[in-house]
């Protein structure tokens, strides 16, 4: 996009002037940045040669439906800008001072998203449920939990308006989003997110959370659709006794690529982190799980675990796991476990010898494999939904 077009675009929007200025600043940065190179470590196993953010066509607003109880404030971003301009100005992209091409794309062009504010001492009863109907338009969401509050947040990414059969090889649909989350002292957020996109889309979802003293964030992630799906989920444990748990599953078939990055940064003493990510691949699907636990020098008395496991159902499926640890403190315990394997014939035999046919036996083993993640989910509804989607994707493939 040319600068003149960009200026025209922001001129036509009724947005606060600080936002217009900020868009202009990040647009300059975005225009200067190149698309990531496969030589860069985080882009090593992912083929984004079809994606060119400089050519992505953007128009209109992303269609988002929201559902929530009356004890919290939930607005579409375009509306929130009028009422909560100051709060958005204060928080927006403050966790992304190191914005790459994708993040600066979102911060230049985002047009809609969800604004959530849970006031002090409010323990929201009902979940906030958000359904984002993705197109090329980037989405920016901001979730702020004020002190001593609690929220269940459910985000579902779909793309109902996209014809799943037609695929544009030159300019494919690129779905992008940035979500920033602030969990203030003694608050607790359960954050459920999933993408069930048609298989002709590319998606790049960046999520960062800042977790303060005594606060807790629990992520529940499901990656199912898209031709290529990249999640980058990062948590900064900034206050003592902050906690983070990340549970994720992915299910890939055909030529899909699922790429998940999780990073947890222990910045202060007495924090804890627990990660378990499991995936099942069939067809020619491939996956990358890249995990990092970083424990800073003064972050003593830290407990951190990362588990990453993949089950390969076909001999054309591929999996790359890179679970890394960077430990600068000594009085800590950081561990990880990782495995890649197939359906074990012994287990299959056991089930089949009890009268199950092979297909059913396989289903049961796959379900059991994912169950250790799903049973951590604090929402029965999301768990059931993920289970159903996984079954459909893998078993009818």
């Amino acid at each position: 996009m040319l600068v003149t077009d960009f200026l025209q675009m922001i001129k036509n929007r009724s947005e606060p002037s600080w936002l217009k200025q900020r868009r202009l600043d990040t647009f300059t940065k975005f225009s200067q940045l190149k698309m990531p190179d496969s030589k860069e470590e985080e882009w090593r196993y992912i083929d984004i040669s079809q994606v060119n953010l400089d050519n992505v066509k953007i128009d209109g607003y992303t269609d988002i439906s929201i559902d929530f109880g009356n004890d919290v404030i939930v607005l579409l971003m375009k509306e929130a800008l009028n009422k909560f301009s100051d709060m958005i100005n204060e928080h927006a992209f403050s966790l992304f001072t190191d914005a790459d091409k994708f993040v600066s794309f979102v911060s230049s062009f985002w047009n809609n998203g969800v604004f959530v504010y849970v006031p002090k001492n409010v323990q929201a009863e009902l979940p906030v449920t958000v359904k984002i109907n993705n197109t090329n338009n980037p989405v920016y969401s901001l979730v702020v939990l004020d002190e001593n509050s609690k929220l269940n947040f459910v985000e579902e990414n779909v793309a109902d308006k996209i014809n799943p059969i037609v695929s544009d090889k030159i300019n494919p649909i690129v779905s992008t989003s940035v979500t920033e989350i602030f969990v203030k002292e003694n608050s607790k957020l359960n954050f459920f997110c999933s993408q069930i996109l048609p298989e002709n889309l590319y998606s790049f979802y960046y999520k960062r959370a800042s977790v303060e003293r005594g606060a807790e964030i629990n992520w529940f992630l499901g990656s199912f659709g898209a031709k290529l799906s990249r999640w980058k989920v990062e948590t900064f444990l900034k206050g003592e006794n902050a906690k983070c748990q990340k549970y994720g599953i992915y299910a890939g078939n055909k030529n899909q690529h699922h790429d998940i990055i999780t990073k947890t940064f222990h910045l202060v003493p007495h924090t804890s982190n627990n990660i378990l990510v499991k995936g099942v691949l069939t067809g020619r699907a491939s996956s990358v799980y890249r995990g990092l636990i970083r424990i800073e020098k003064n972050a003593q008395q830290t407990l951190s675990y990362m588990g990453a496991h993949t089950l390969l159902l076909s001999n054309k499926a591929k999996s790359n796991n890179i679970p890394s640890l960077e430990i600068e403190a000594n009085d800590v315990r950081a561990t990880h476990g990782s495995s890649v394997g197939q359906l074990e014939e012994e287990k299959l035999f056991y089930l089949m010898s009890r009268g199950l046919d092979r297909k059913l036996a396989e289903n049961i083993i796959v379900e059991g494999f994912l169950e250790t993640v799903l049973n951590k989910f604090t929402s029965d509804e999301v768990r059931e939904k993920f289970r159903a989607i996984t079954n459909e994707r893998l078993l009818n493939a």
Binding site: E41, Y45, K297, Q300, T310, L312, L313, S314, N315, K316, A317, K318, S319, N320, N321, I322, P323, S324, L325, E326, I327, E328, A329, N330, D331, V332, R333, A334, T335, H336, G337, S338, S339, V340, G341, Q342
Partner: protein
Amino acid sequence: MRGLKMDKMKQQQKPKLVIERDYSKYGFSVDVDYLYKARKGLSHEIVEEISKIKDEPKWMLEFRLKALEHFIQRPLPTWGPDLSRIPFDDLVYYLKPIDKQATSWEDLPEAIRQTFEKLGIPEAERKFLGGVGAMFDSETVYHKIREDLAKQGVIFCDTDTALKEYPELFRKYFGTVVPYNDNKFAALNSAVWSGGSFLYIPEGVHVNIPLQAYFRINAPQMGQFERTLIIAEPDSKVHYIESCTAGVYTTKSLHAAVVEIIALPGAHVRYTTLQNWADNVYNLVTKRAHAYENAIVEWLDANIGSQVTMKYPSVYLLGQGARAEILSVAFAGKGQHQDTGGKAIHLAPNTSSTITAKSVSKDGGKTNYRGLIKVLPGAINSRSFTKCDAIILDEQSVSDTIPYMEINENQVSIGHEATVGKVSDEQLFYLMSRGLTEQQALTMIVNGFFEAFTKELPMEYAVEFNRLIQLEMAGAVG
């Protein structure tokens, strides 16, 4: 009477050392009148000069020059430890101490002989080795193999000699496992290599006593670039041990070796490294093996000392049923960065690999485990397990774990586990409540932590390793 008995008992309990050696004094150096000393820095002329002095065939000079070109063009790696302070222009790339290699220690110049005496090599050779090669700066100054082994057709000589005496065998395998353009430091080695061991084990021959090479850097600001080639014919067996030390200087030195192992069907090669470099040495080594059907390759790799070590012994499992065992241990003290690990590439069905890595960091030292398990399509029933444990002894020290798993086949079983943490207070308390000081208790725990490695070593080396760890642990309690 009773007292006498007690004395006797005490005497018996005292562990009897096979070799008495002062393990704290490796850092000495001696004055040597070198026969040839290349001017510092690297150039085409120096590479040509080295080749000329060695009177090499033309193909080797061409190989060297090609490698030099690649070295110049290839940038430093962008990952891993900081290598920007290697003084490439100030190093001496070739330093020839003597004219004719000796087969008797007495024939060596006094200073060189004394160096190896102090390091205990002649004594070790007499007591338990089947053959010894000793390298001093750029050249192998001593080489000998026991007669009975020579009679069975075992060839154990320095690599320069092998190029002259076994040209066909040499050319068939040289540079096939680690090509000259594999990485920047393999290219550098290929350009200026000198010395190292050539080991050939004929079909079916089992060499049951270890063969050893000793690498010594004596001069300051020196680059040592030995090249080792091991060819194990079908169903043969050998255990090769290398030790490395250097004189201590304030200036930097570089050690960039290349080791190639070809383990033909059914062969079993064990390669043990006990490295104890001085703190001013950059140690950047490429070690790789090709393992054919049912062959076994074992790398036992101990990394103590050096400023920076980057070393990831690897095994390409090329034939059905081939097996790789990599055991890598590292100790990083003040100002040291040990970036070590292992790689196993499964290219054939029913292959297996195990990587065990253990590291300890102390006084601001940094240990990294970096590893790769790769399974290519068709390598069905591959099995691999990696276990990394790291102990960080104090608040200044650091440890990273970076394992890569690239799995392109589904009929496999791949596992990885890692832990990083401190010495458990419970263990310390247990030992101290039994009268050990904190220092003794810590040292005992660290020695125990490395036990998986030490128990694989011949006794003499296990003793040496434990002594070295003890020295490194001195002052662990502040």
